[in-house]
Symmetry: C2
Subunit: 434 residues, 2 copies
């Protein structure tokens, strides 16, 4: 029998509870899989009054985080309190005590991955972060190991379950954004302050990690162009359908002309594509590789059990390295000083297809003037729908463009938005080709 | 700089060529990812006259397999000749010389995995077999590591690209099986002798590996109930569509009542399910876990580059263990003497929903007699289509049943097939619930 790997938890919220219930409820299975037992030494939290499903002996619980961070019997610290501080300080403190760390904190890693990985490399300990992207989908390990022989050229990910749930429900039931958001909050799928999710920033956090692994390039959060789903209307969903497409919030990283594009925005994708079939709170990440082509990884993107399972898989993985003495020799994959770090492409230079929806006066010459502005920017229209001829007032004019540069389309819609024939700001949604 | 991991190949066919072209064409990337260089020491094959895309120095090529198996400089032998013998002897010989081995040979592992893993455990070397299932999809590593913390309850896999291509084309273009098979052969998607693929045995080979990993239970190939796609007709595809379903060849392993079901057969699945959206030569494996729920892994199931990429990912993985000295301490995951090996459920005890298509005389009383036979076996009908009323002759009668035992449905259709009202053997296709 190998000696146990001894674990301490910081934070005992939803995901920690999931991980702890897996560790306590599946002991025999985990010991067999791992080859060693996993022992929970301490769990630190501020509040132990909340009822929890996992039954934990009271001597394991502590209100003192430092007890976990400095405990001589703890090999590995699991940080699940979330947020930037004090999570960052706690992780660095644990690492300074030569403890391996596991975290699901994408917001923290999006901002401070370099510091944390460097500290871990200096102390020769490992950082596990499988739970930080895609919940139960083992996408981190897949990029580190499963696809280690491939050169990734693009990633397209549905990585925020809240947004995907809202867009799915808007599409299925024809309800407006605000109603579905409210429902999602009632169901616990959306936070009471949903900004991080629906504004796209949570997806951007995750994209920094995916892009870093896939392209061996550190990505600063501020380099990602981020747009949320708050402005998606039923009209856009219906027109997308007419064009054979669905709207999904995608996190996109791709290599084009020696640059990396990193962006999060609502995106029209072909209805028959597998990503379009990803409904509700599920996540899916499509990795395009030079050798393997498109590979898609789909599953539950959040929740106590899926994310808890990812956290435990990290504990097993690092535990195996501890057991074999390999732990002190493995350089964390994301830090490769000799990697040819690619520059991030400015959003204005990104090329895409575009969907444009305008509310225009229903009179002759309007289309000519609008297509003239687009043509002036070198943008050509691939298809057009002009709907609902009315006696008076404005009607929607919807266009799909051929490939164009973001700078040109933005200049064009700024000009169009000021035309007297046009009554509202132009709605723009990017369109990904097949 | 770490010392290189030195590799020898046995066989230089399609997949080997893919792996070698990745190793020679992406050296800098692989060295960075792995942390060490990978050196090809020798490639043994019987025929070097065939033109190959990868340019290999002639002193690396040899016609003598033993030169690879016993070469003192080779750490790891990649077997890609396929088939049972001499592949099995070569692998065991390599292992006996304390060489790690990598193979994509599912037929061999389906029959001799126990011997090979035991020999490797005895010699303290690793066996990599990521390329044996799902081509470029890292499903082996996912079951070994990514989902290591989960208890798998079911696997549903589209793991044969040839069958999926044929069924996709039959569905899309309304062509008969034989025509599409011919096309697939012309396109190189099907072998000139397609029996192993279309008969389901290749899927069964792969299922032994998936089930072994997911359920920690050795599965003998002969325990798998196997049915191919040769008998699927356009009529069945059209009726499936009418029931909101598509027909896919699925490899299924699931735990029910303390048993494991392992079976390969054409299966009707809901049209809107993600597996139903897997078209052409692509593969997809849905893993259902107690904690993570459904996770799906999708990608190219075959081909030089995808499978070559999987082979190289194994070389990197084992190379990392060699470099860290961990190689001699890692027990191959599939061999767990203390695992609670589950018995395989006899096919006659498996429960399923069923689709039945009968050609019956179009006269009163027939449906009553047929439903009487089903009812006598305790089988109830959930929906029914009786089509194409004709002046004379036989018309199709199609039924979907509620859940029933295989033994009862087989007895019922044997009885029904002998009724004077019924003109052809009953077509039976199993139906998986959502």
């Amino acid at each position: 029998m190998k000696s146990p790997v001894r674990v301490g938890f910081i934070g005992f919220g939803t995901v920690a509870e999931g991980a702890v219930s897996i560790l306590t409820g599946q002991q025999a299975l985990l010991r067999r899989r791992a080859g060693f037992p996993i022992e929970i030494v301490k769990i630190a939290d501020r509040d132990f009054t909340r009822a929890r499903s996992a039954a934990i002996p009271s001597d394991i619980l502590t209100g003192d985080v430092m007890e976990v961070l400095t405990h001589p019997d703890i090999d590995l610290v699991v940080e699940l309190i979330g947020g930037i501080e004090p999570a960052r300080s706690y992780l660095l403190e644990a690492i300074s005590h030569k403890k391996h760390v596991v975290t699901a904190n994408k917001a923290l890693l999006a901002l401070h991955a370099d510091d944390i990985f460097q500290a871990a490399a200096d102390q020769r300990v490992s950082v596990g972060f499988e739970g930080s992207v895609g919940g139960g989908i083992p996408i981190i390990r897949t990029l580190q190991e499963g696809l280690s022989a491939d050169k990734v050229t693009a990633i397209h990910g549905i990585v925020n379950g809240t947004c995907n749930y809202i867009l799915s429900e808007m599409t299925r039931h024809g309800k407006p954004f605000s109603d579905v958001l409210k429902e999602a909050q009632d169901l616990g799928y959306a936070e009471s302050n949903p900004t991080l999710d629906v504004g796209g920033m949570d997806s951007a956090h995750k994209l920094t990690l995916l892009a870093r692994l896939a392209f061996e390039t550190p990505i600063a959060l501020k380099e990602i162009s981020v747009q949320g789903i708050e402005h998606i209307t039923q009209a856009d969903i219906a027109f997308a359908d007419a064009f054979g497409r669905k709207i999904k919030l995608l996190a996109i990283a791709k290599e084009t002309d020696g640059f990396i594009e990193v962006r999060v925005h609502p995106t029209m994708i072909p209805k028959q594509s597998l990503l379009a079939g990803v409904e509700g709170v599920y996540n899916a990440i499509c990795v395009t590789g030079k050798n393997t082509g498109d590979t898609i990884f789909y599953g539950k993107g959040a929740g106590a059990q899926p994310t808890g399972s990812a956290v435990v898989s990290d504990i097993i993985d690092i535990g195996r390295r501890i057991q074999t003495g390999a732990d002190s020799q493995v350089t964390p994959f994301p830090l490769k000083p000799d990697a040819p770090s690619l520059p991030v492409k400015q959003m204005e230079n990104v090329e895409s297809l575009y969907y444009l929806r305008l509310m225009v006066e229903d009179k002759p010459g309007v289309l000519s003037r609008i297509s003239g502005v687009l043509g002036g920017q070198g943008i050509s229209i691939s298809s057009m729908i002009q709907q609902g001829r009315k006696a008076e007032g404005h009607v929607p004019l919807v266009m799909m463009t051929h490939k164009a540069k973001e700078r040109h389309i933005q200049e064009a819609i700024a000009t169009i938005g000021q035309m007297p024939d046009v009554s509202e700001p132009v709605a723009l949604i990017r369109v990904e080709e097949d």
